[in-house]
């Protein structure tokens, strides 16, 4: 079934790229902005800054008092939030159609005039809140810091993806008001931002409203460096071992992958599916069903734009299982996949699951808006929402074999092992 979600686009004189995608099935509009700044833009000693900044965007701006952004939109039936990731920061709300202009006005006020309202008190308070977020999501969770180890093991020191979005406590402590001002001036500008309206709105009306509220913002984003060239796979295995009090041993086996928006990444994703991304995957059949040496095996691929993406397999070891044997088994299955390629059933299953996941995401107005912004900001092509599945369906067994041989070689793996040690917590790198 070919997809035909409407995609109307226009660029304002100040460089703000806008997409309007009408859908009148629900009397709501989603406003979704992506700003071209994420943790990949952060410098050493300033990690966690993009995310801390995202919090400050809710603390008031020229015409809006602290907390009012949430309050005003929720009282009109808005559901809203913001998130920070390696490649970008996004801000979004879904509001009843009659509150669309209020949402645009509030967004324009903070995206244009945040600094008027920024205070040391707000910065100190949100720094504390972000530190609690870090404790809650990373430090106080079993395996909570595993992915931080994965990023550091897979990507070289100084690479944009070497450090996590949440940053470090020391860097958060060091953030000053001057830093925040400089950060805003450097990255928050209409020519480094895209805006999507998805929902109960006609294209011309949408463009007129965005022009009304955002047209007055000044273009001033700094010249961007081009994205980094493709990072080649690791040439020798990397291993990080953590001994902590965890419920069971867990292996994270990670790989560098080709950048987002390429056929090669789609093929590598299918290869990871064959390995552990499906309940009929090889590692699930072998470790979980037959040997019962693991209670779970999963695979994930995250597309990034700055020269490399990330793929990883997570294996939860059964209580008496030997993690070295699990790792050796994974290497065997990688080699077999590279030799023999995927079966017809694996290829079909991977494509069918990708299709359902994509259609499910697009079924929600919020997620559709987010995908439109993603492809507009990072690839200048919002129509990917309609064409992505064609690319997925075009994957062949040969492409999967090529991707496996190039990107998923056993020697290109980085392993982060969390091993149960009730006695203490020390790192052996």
């Amino acid at each position: 079934m070919p997809l035909d979600y409407p995609v109307h686009r226009r660029t304002l004189d100040n460089g703000l790229r806008v997409v309007v995608s009408p859908d009148h099935t629900v009397p709501n509009v989603t406003v979704n902005l992506w700003v071209g700044v994420g943790s990949r833009h952060e410098e050493a000693g300033r990690t966690g800054f993009a995310h801390l900044f995202e919090h400050l965007m809710f603390q008031g701006s020229r015409g809006v008092r602290s907390g009012e952004h949430f309050e005003a939109l929720m009282a009109e039936g808005g559901r809203l939030n913001a998130t920070t990731w390696f490649d970008r920061t996004n801000y979004f709300e879904t509001v009843p159609t009659g509150a669309l202009e209020l949402a645009l006005w509030l967004e324009a006020d903070r995206h244009g005039h945040l600094l008027d309202a920024l205070t040391q008190e707000n910065l100190d308070n949100q720094r504390d809140v972000v530190k609690e977020e870090k404790r809650q999501r990373y430090d106080n969770q079993p395996y909570g810091t595993a992915l931080i180890d994965v990023y550091a093991a897979v990507f070289p020191e100084g690479h944009p993806y070497h450090h996590p979005t949440i940053g470090s406590m020391a860097d958060l402590d060091a953030a000053s008001l001057e830093d925040v001002h400089a950060f805003f001036r450097r990255y928050y500008a209409p020519d480094n931002t895209v805006l999507t309206l998805c929902g109960d709105i006609a294209p011309e009306e949408g463009f007129t409203l965005v022009e009304r509220y955002f047209g007055g913002l000044t273009a001033r984003a700094e010249e961007r460096r081009p994205d980094l060239p493709q990072l080649e796979p690791l040439t020798a295995p990397v291993r990080v071992e953590r001994r902590e009090k965890v419920p069971n041993d867990r292996l994270h086996v990670a790989f560098r992958l080709p950048v987002d928006g390429t056929d090669e990444l789609v093929a590598a994703t299918v290869a990871l599916d064959c390995l552990a991304g499906l309940s009929s995957s090889r590692l699930v059949r072998r470790f979980v069903r037959r040997e019962q040496s693991a209670t779970g095996a999963h695979a994930t691929a995250w597309g990034f734009v700055d020269g490399v993406s990330l793929g990883f397999v997570v294996i939860d070891a059964a209580p008496d299982a030997d993690t070295d044997a699990l790792e050796a088994g994974l290497v065997e299955e990688l080699e077999r996949l590279a030799q023999e390629g995927p079966t017809e059933a694996e290829l079909e299953a991977s494509i069918a699951q990708a299709e359902r996941a994509w259609l499910s995401a697009l079924a929600s107005q919020e997620e559709r808006a987010d995908l439109l912004s993603r492809y507009l900001l990072l690839h200048d092509d919002p129509d990917v929402v309609n064409t992505h599945l064609d690319r997925v369906r075009a994957v062949t067994a040969e492409r999967v074999v090529e991707a496996t041989r190039r990107w998923l070689r056993p020697e290109s793996r980085a392993v982060v092992a969390f091993l149960d040690d009730a006695e203490g917590a020390e790192a052996v790198a």
């Binding site: 009282a75 504390d128 809650q136 509220y213 069971n248 209670t295 299709e355 919020e366």
Partner: protein, 448 residues
């Protein structure tokens, strides 16, 4: 900069009303045709009560649900998994206090195959011995994962403290290590024969149904489902609160950098004779947003937490009102004191502005909250299991819009009597001295 724009009132909206049918075997079928929703959502609910589980074998309902798609008379477990995935299906099954819930998402074109496989899973699972052992083992691993997670551990201790020890609700729905260890293949097969069948069952199908004849697809599949030995489920009963529930339990989790806080009391289900409408409004005002009473102090003023949330959690019968979140260890004593103060002070009444904001949020977000096939199917399946009429959602929204301050105050006071069950999961060595003398009720400590 232009002036702040005015807001136009939202258009009237109603929760979609499904078409209602009966399948040949008596199963109730509720169909929502939702144009543009290309992934169909199917739900099958079968009422049953966890209270009827053999106390020695608690968790058997959950384990049976998890084993439904692990081998059928027609397909081995691996064949079944592969068939599902080749047809783009995502299938899940679990139990709540009201019964079994099977959920399926599948692209439109694969509905006939999906309906056939769901029927197989419900009607002819064979529970192969190795799969039973594997699923039981993974539940044991899951129990350890839940123990290690502060939030899960807190939820378990709340149930154990708030409900009477004789009540099934005081123990984990999916069973403990002891009871899971006693479950056998034969017990699972027997449980399936007696508890999983078309009697009392409802099927919900939601999504874009253009070009599909759902009735003939479902007549030929779930309409043929039979379970001659199935016994009817007893009517659901609200859990009995523990007589000594108003106390503080510290769960010792050495080395924790945060304390997970949960404050709870019993609450109503959605068919409460007082009306459900004020409850989501009250919980929103108390702890439903960064500007709500709780986070206005603990997050935005003090910076002690990433966020603490309050919610009424209705069960099929009875329910609870729970406020939970985490704070850094050093401020545990002060944070819990402030939190209990806020929850108690709300008994003095809400303001007109709070009522307005809560009513507006709950009623105006409804069209968006029920905009996907998935969300519509979930709500209709919940109505079916809870025995609520199909226009409940719409009528409740009208009741929300008409709430007066007295309704809100009365609803909160009925639930929040001040008899709080307080659970703190954290490093007992530092938590205990910090809360000593600061909180009402006796304080005890339990191991992780």
């Amino acid at each position: 900069m232009s002036a702040r724009p005015a807001v136009r009132p939202p258009a009237p909206w109603a929760f979609p009303v499904p078409e209602e049918h009966r399948l040949p075997n008596g199963v109730r079928l509720l169909v929502h045709d939702l144009p543009g929703q290309y992934v169909l959502s199917m739900r099958v609910v079968v009422p049953s009560s966890l209270a009827t589980e053999d106390p020695e074998l608690e968790g058997i309902s959950s384990m049976t649900a998890r084993l439904l798609d692990e081998g059928t008379a027609e397909h081995s477990p691996e064949e079944f998994a592969e068939l599902m995935e080749r047809h783009g299906m995502a299938l899940g099954a679990g139990v709540s206090d009201g019964g079994l819930l099977v959920d399926l998402d599948v692209p439109q074109a694969h509905l006939p195959t999906a309906a056939r496989l769901v029927t197989e899973a419900l009607a002819t699972p064979v529970f192969p011995e190795p799969e039973v052992r594997r699923i039981l083992r993974s539940r044991l691993a899951e129990i350890e994962q839940e123990r290690a997670s502060a939030a899960h551990r807190a939820a378990r201790e709340v149930a154990r403290t708030m409900w009477d020890p004789a009540d099934r609700a005081s123990r984990p729905a999916a069973g403990s290590a002891e009871t899971i260890g006693r479950i056998t293949r034969e017990a699972v097969a027997e449980h399936h024969a007696l508890r999983v069948g078309p009697r009392g069952a409802t099927v919900v199908l939601a999504g874009d149904l253009s070009g599909i004849d759902p009735l003939s697809v479902l007549d030929a599949t779930l309409g043929q489902w039979e379970a001659p030995r199935q016994v009817p489920a007893p009517p659901p009963l609200a859990p009995v609160p523990a007589a000594d529930r108003a106390r503080v339990v510290v769960v010792d989790r050495p080395g924790s950098v945060q304390t997970e806080i949960a404050v709870a009391c019993p609450g109503p289900d959605r068919s409460t004779p007082f009306g459900w409408a004020p409850h989501p409004v009250a919980s929103f005002v108390v702890g439903g947003s960064p500007n709500a009473r709780v986070d206005a102090v603990l997050r935005e003023e003090k910076g002690y937490t990433y966020g603490i949330r309050s919610a009424f959690r209705p069960r099929v019968a009875g329910g609870s009102f729970v406020t939970s979140g985490s704070v850094r260890s050093e401020v545990t004593g002060e944070a819990v004191g402030l939190l209990l103060g806020i929850l108690d002070d709300a008994r003095d009444g809400f303001t007109a502005a709070e009522l307005r904001s809560g009513v507006d949020f709950v009623s105006k977000t409804a069209p968006g909250r029920y905009a996907t096939a998935d969300a519509v199917a979930d709500e209709t399946a919940a109505l079916a299991l809870e025995g609520l009429p199909l226009d409940f959602t719409t009528r409740n929204l009208a009741a929300v819009a008409g709430l007066a301050l007295e309704d809100l105050d009365a609803a909160y006071r009925r639930a929040a009597t001040g008899e709080w069950t307080v659970v703190l999961v954290g490093d007992a060595e530092s938590v205990l001295p910090a809360v000593e003398g600061r909180l009402p009720g006796p304080v005890s400590t339990v191991a992780l």
